[in-house]
Symmetry: C2
Subunit: 248 residues, 2 copies
Amino acid sequence: MQQYRYKITIEYLGTGLAGWQRQANGLSIQQILEEAIYCLTKTNTIVIAAGRTDAGVHALGQVAHFDLTNYRDPHQIMRSLNHFMRPHSVAIIDCQNVTSDFHARFSAIKRHYIYKIVNRPGQVILDAERAWWIRHKLNISAMQQGVSYLLGQHDFTSFRAKHCQAQSPIKTLSKLDIIKCDQEQINFYLSAPSFLHHMVRNIVGSLVLVGLEKWQPENIKAVLDSKKREAAGSTAPAKGLYFIKVDY
Amino acid sequence: MQQYRYKITIEYLGTGLAGWQRQANGLSIQQILEEAIYCLTKTNTIVIAAGRTDAGVHALGQVAHFDLTNYRDPHQIMRSLNHFMRPHSVAIIDCQNVTSDFHARFSAIKRHYIYKIVNRPGQVILDAERAWWIRHKLNISAMQQGVSYLLGQHDFTSFRAKHCQAQSPIKTLSKLDIIKCDQEQINFYLSAPSFLHHMVRNIVGSLVLVGLEKWQPENIKAVLDSKKREAAGSTAPAKGLYFIKVDY
């Protein structure tokens, strides 16, 4: 049976959602999309994403694919699915018909995340669910020194969630830039071919300990070398994390 | 009776709120603050703001003042009021004890706003209530040409709401920069000693007609010269507007 594959780029606000993957309890982005496709096609369709973001994590450019048995105009698919998803904070921002060898997860060659921190004494309102609020001043150059130990290929066991399903803990962190965007906002830009479960949030959680000067930058190397999750800092809150882009 | 004056800087998400000023119907930021002060002091207190923002307009740095009959530590005031306001998307981010000649409205020498547009075909999710989504590509340099007619002192009757209470329609627009922040976001930075009611949103509404190439940049001059509200474009949505800062 002929099938037509579609690649979609998705924006979502993760607040109140159960993350990408279908869950028995809680509404996931995958379920919202699959139900919208059912409304359009009356066919059960599985949607496969580049990255299975956790509950509360946002996306500006998540990528996914699915197959339809009838050809439909990509722009019409986007409009229709966005119509059906309207009550939810999820929308398709691009839709393309692609060849069947495209796979949102396995064809991905690099994934890009941003982690946002608002660093100021005053309570955060506009970004309450969109950034990690840290009251005490972070030492950015100390965090940047800590980063130097993490770039490149390493065994990231110390920054890996207990229930991570990846076969190997060895990953290659291609980029980790810490940029002070304005007086208050600090963005972490992370890129890698792939990440372990919670890897971004665990790295940010440890670097923040350096930023708060509870740790020295060299502690990051010691934590990495220990290959023990308990050696690293706690997991940074989901609400500061954005899945930005996938390279294919 | 001795009184102690406090200057507060306030951040709020205007979504779902009735704007700054107390209303018979709808919850205003003024009411939220005054009720929080009542919880703290058991005294009815009036809070006076630098700018009376409309329903749906946000603030990152609204300034207001109020008087208390007992001295309280400014930091404690901030913490207590933020505690009482917790259910609402309003917080005090700075509080200072000031002399009684300080007046949030009348001492202000310049007010600063940002208007945010997301300019892309794809539906906007993260900024749905925080920016004006415009699908069709805006011509930024045409809008910038339009701006040239607005800078400086003019009779802004054409950009003034019908129910504006200002005594004179003559205002001095000190700054209007249009900056493309990234691929999609266009920010308008506006500064003036004071603005007429709806002046920022009416200016943005007209400049967007230039950006969409429905108008020529020169139309802005014709609209200004006409001194008729109906000559100008429609009022840009409240959700894109942010009250940023006040100079004293």
